[in-house]
Symmetry: C2
Subunit: 280 residues, 2 copies
Amino acid sequence: MNRTELINLVFSKKSFLCIGLDTDISKIPSHLHELEDPVFEFNKAIIDATHDLAIAYKPNFAFYECYGTSGWQSLTKTIQYIKTAYPGQIFAIADAKRGDIGNTSQQYARAMFDPASSGMDFDAVTVAPYMGEDSVKPFLSYPGKWIIVLALTSNKGAEDFQFFQSRDHRLFEQVLSRSQTWCTNANMMYVVGATQAEMLTDIRKIVPDHFLLVPGVGAQGGSLQEVAKYGLTRDCGLIVNSSRNIIYASHGEDFTVKAREEAASMQMEMELVMKKAGII
Amino acid sequence: MNRTELINLVFSKKSFLCIGLDTDISKIPSHLHELEDPVFEFNKAIIDATHDLAIAYKPNFAFYECYGTSGWQSLTKTIQYIKTAYPGQIFAIADAKRGDIGNTSQQYARAMFDPASSGMDFDAVTVAPYMGEDSVKPFLSYPGKWIIVLALTSNKGAEDFQFFQSRDHRLFEQVLSRSQTWCTNANMMYVVGATQAEMLTDIRKIVPDHFLLVPGVGAQGGSLQEVAKYGLTRDCGLIVNSSRNIIYASHGEDFTVKAREEAASMQMEMELVMKKAGII
């Protein structure tokens, strides 16, 4: 999906909501446990119930890998379902935080982006920048695919290294500026945690147009209003993720209804924010 | 495997060799392609041919994930084979470069260390430090398991951020010193690329006793002699990885013979290095 298509998706759905599929078998409704692949059935039901309200879904790989091969199978079925049931309507993000030396990142890129090899056809992958340019560039060899580089994360540990300070700037600022020499705002985004909303002013000075993937709204305490206030651009420029608040809105048989209510509430708030900013 | 057991392994095998299982189906001998799981059969044959010469094996996850579910299955069978065929004789490293917010890293830890959940029972996992303490600590909740934190990597991109300079030290030095407040030399190691051998003097000032996992000897141009000169400790303190030079020593039916010859040559060089240093 290219940048224009992504922006069109945002404006047609009046939403910049990403739903995080952090699917934990111990938290999904018990009636699904009788099915052959409860994790996939849960994801499918959540997607079906919310696909018109969200522009993106973001399976979190750890929640699948912890079940080994069967988890990987649920993950593969999930991305295949997204692509066949809702073609062109969903931006699918592999939240995998990968990154390694060049020949290894090339294999990770195949895993995420080459369905003939791995069965998976995500639109984007989250990457860790620690190993630098050649650990990231192999992901860019697939046209229409995106990398989402960790810049400033939502967790407490962000303070350990991301704020590491040189004479005149911090590591996350170095990541933002250096990585712009690798590619463009048409195939790169950044992760900026919602809990770091007050930093968005500084961040927007360095990356005025790039899309930002913003986790941490909801369970982690970030505010959508704050994020939009400092992060919204003319093209929207934001993809705000919510996971637990939506997918676990209910643990009962009404889980899709409650998930839709939560997603609809966020979509409406987003529409309002976009109207207020005069971009729709 | 605890630190004492690991050191015993090094001294009993007179080796600090790790063999990287970067198994690429396009590079393995063609006669294996007829078998049901060529990647696993290749790994099994390599392990059987070299298990007395190497102390560790390091499957590189990317090379399995690129084949999707079936790749994950080959990976699972490989770690299960190591643990059942050679119990207590091999330190098994998940080269996965993981790291995410706490609740997510907890799931990655289950994937690597909890065979009841994922089928996999590695001894150690490589982790990316960018997200800080709470992204790394969940891996330490499994007794006897290790984290191997990326410090200074072997690739060119290491220059982009790892050398980012504050007033009096660089990011990789910050990683080395800060991470020592999280755990001890009995459950943490560091990745230091062999191509960075000249930096080992500085590194050993900060981490005098920790084991270092050193990739980059061979195909990437690093020298075992240089690494040993600056990195060896009384307890050895090194695990030197070689992948392509050993596993692809031959592409023919004699691949196990040639792999063994390469591994034996490295083991002998390591034994000599340890003798010369007076530690055996």
